[in-house]
Amino acid sequence: MTRNDLKRSMQIGLIAGVVAVSLSAIGMVETFDERDIITDILSLGQALLFSIPIIAGFMSVPKRLINEDLFVDDEETTSSAFPSGVQAAINGGVSGFFAALVLVGFIALMSIFPGIRDSLPNVSPALLDILTFGQESVAVGSLLLAIVMVVLGATTAVFRLLPQRVQRPVRNGLLWSLGIGLLSEIILLVLINFMDKSGLRLIFGSKGITLFAAVVIFVIAAVLTVFWESRGRTRFQRRRAAMTEKQNKVMRQLGIALGVVVLLSLPINLGPYLTEVMDIVGIFILMGLGLNIVVGFAGLLDLGYVAFFAIGAYTMALLTSTGDLGIAQIPFWVALPFCVLAATLAGVILGVPVLRMRGDYLAIVTLGFGEIIRVLVGSDLMKEVLGGAQGILRIGRPTIPIPEFLQETISKGAPSFIFVQPKEFYYLILIGCLLAVFVSIRLRDARAGRNWMALREDEDVAEAMGIRLVSTKLLAFGFGAAFGGLAGALFASRISSIFPHSFQLLISINVLSLIIVGGIGSIPGVVVGALFLVGLPELLREFQEYRLLMYGALLIVMMLMRPEGLWPSAVTRRELHADEEDAAREGPTALDDVAGLV
């Protein structure tokens, strides 16, 4: 162990301490404390707080101690890991200690100068209570906190030295039980339809899951991981490789059929609240798919995507509203194509002059365009037409006429079926999303997609290949705008009244972030990203308050740890992990050998 290692651990610890103080001072710890992950044992706030020394401990381990080669974790290295284990423990402990030091300093400041609340309103007695584990004496509480942080830092550091086959099951077990605990409210909402009370009581406490459930989930996840890594994976791969072309096709069709059944039955299983969340997620998926064509496929950075969403929504509002501002009062279905058309047209009109620009310039112009639309719809200038801040009310709902002889049985005599409920809109949004997926795939795999890709890689050379820049970009821009418009139209009709504040820059940023988090250019990535960035904050109310902070943090972490996104497209994976891939190409048998031995 060198002094440099200790110095580094100290620095990491200090940074971690500052992060912990910041999160406490902005009120995040306190807000999150209201949600229990494991009933009465671990709250989300505590988890947040403890994650800091854990991450610090993890990072403090000097690189040379870690044998990163996955395939050398045999007896030899494990037995010789003892001295390095002590080193790691000391490093981790040091980082935990310094993190605690900063935090304890903050606690001291809080208890000595209660006036600090004047400038930091979130520094409340409740926060002090959380940080000192509810101890009477602040000193005892601080000591306890410091001990916990040192132990966590040291434990994590040692844990990091363990072979992957030990690390991974534990990590998965923890993630699963914490994840399920975090989402316990929602899971309860779903399970309540299937289970009786006594069963539920076993799993769920007053808030969060019970300790018993947490342990069971941990064990199950860990055991499954062990099984999968030791035997399941190779067996699965072998069986997969042994399948014939025809079997493969059958499996794929079965998969699709299963997916369709799940998607169709989702509102029934999820209940009204979760279905509403799914509606919002779905609208963002639709927008994400649209923007993905522009940003992901063609590589054009569009920061004003909300403009097309707004145009779609306002077109729907103007055409179908039965209020004062409605101009046509035509049915939803007639208006829908016009909404898409209006958004597409706006995209093309904006695109023709703008798409000659490159990169940053395009981003700035689109950013401005998004703002112009937002300001315009909220302005007094357009108040007569667009309603200004009062928005447009009484927007038409989609209806399906029902033949007379069926009216008795289906709709109790009503002449038509009206989409009002979240679950009814769910199906409309689902159709929209499936359409967007279909179009995305078809275009991606065709000449257009190839040209977009070439454009993304090298615009000059693409042009020299004969690709018409403006029309190729316009195609992407137009489709992106069309799906934005479709999303807007559905959005407007679903909530039946729209206001300018629904169309802020934040929407553009949300959509862009979900694409990045999911994986740029990846269609399943959009879905994952939307569930993660839109669905999760909807479900966990306390996240919403810190939404932007979390986005920022998440984007930074993603860029550092997993720049290709959660579910990357084949192309980005290639781009970002080309070196690893090259290495794999040179020694392609390392994995196969191990797989063969097992």
Partner: protein
């Protein structure tokens, strides 16, 4: 006149105070292999960029098959029948070899996005035919069986060849090669030289070459133009150029004499 495929008349290109190409007169007879040589910074690549529409030249005129290229965009010029390669290879590195060639075939593809959405018979047929043609080109440039490899993973020589293959995808009448043998070893260079000749002999493509390797230049060029500081200082057959005192001066400096030993 009429047997010149490309004709540059008094072409001038300035960058601020620097005149990169200065009043250049230049002609490429149809079906010939012509080279431009000159020291670094002589304006060779700038001239390429003027021909291919990357730069808009300031004065003069460039005619391709009798039609002016002035003010035309690179994609239009490519569609007229001029393809090029780059001094420092500029493949679409994250795309496979075959995809690179398919992008190069863009001028001959007509299917629209509507066809792509509905997978019309016309679109499918066109894509299938394009794939066959792309594979044929791949084989022609000697990359048979390497279609699925990503351009960035190909060895250097293969990348050079693929770039030529991609340029051939546009079915050019005139092919501009910017230092096609740069960085190659002698045997690769010899191979490339033969290959360039095949382009002309088998595909009837007129070739304009920028090259530093004198063995290549002298070996295959029918006509050589020497540029220095943007000006044409000499033009003629390889033998004439080798013995031209101004050329020797430009390359080696004043006062140097070299033995007359034609390559």
């Amino acid at each position: 006149m009429s047997n010149n495929l490309l004709e540059a008349i008094n072409v001038t290109k300035r960058f601020g105070g620097l005149t990169a190409v200065d009043d250049l007169d230049f002609a490429i007879p149809t079906g010939s292999i012509v080279s431009i040589i000159g020291p670094n910074g002589a304006g060779k690549t700038t001239f390429f960029n003027c021909v291919t529409g990357f730069y808009d030249f300031d004065d003069g005129q460039i005619l391709f098959a009798g039609r002016s290229l002035k003010g035309r965009s690179p994609d239009t010029i490519t569609r007229m029948g001029i393809s090029r390669t780059y001094q420092n290879i500029r493949l679409f590195s994250q795309m496979s070899a075959i995809e690179n060639i398919l992008v190069g075939m863009e001028p001959s593809l007509k299917s629209s996005w509507i066809g792509a959405l509905f997978r019309t018979k016309k679109t499918i047929t066109e894509e299938e035919e394009a794939l066959v043609e792309a594979n044929r080109l791949l084989e022609f440039v000697g990359l048979r069986g390497k279609g699925d490899i990503f351009a960035r993973n190909l060895p250097y020589g293969d990348q050079r060849r693929l770039e030529i293959g991609r340029a051939l995808g546009g079915r050019p009448q005139l092919l501009l090669l910017d230092e096609p043998t740069a960085g190659m070893n002698p045997s690769e260079t010899a191979e490339t030289t033969l290959f360039i000749r095949r382009l002309r002999d088998e595909l009837d493509i007129t070739v304009l070459l920028i090259e530093h390797d004198m063995r290549v230049v002298m070996g295959i060029s029918e006509d050589i133009t020497v540029l220095d500081y943007g000006k044409k200082i000499a033009q003629g057959t390889p033998v004439e150029i080798q013995n031209n005192p101004r050329v020797i001066e430009a390359y080696l400096g004043r006062g140097v004499t070299i033995a007359k030993n034609p390559v």
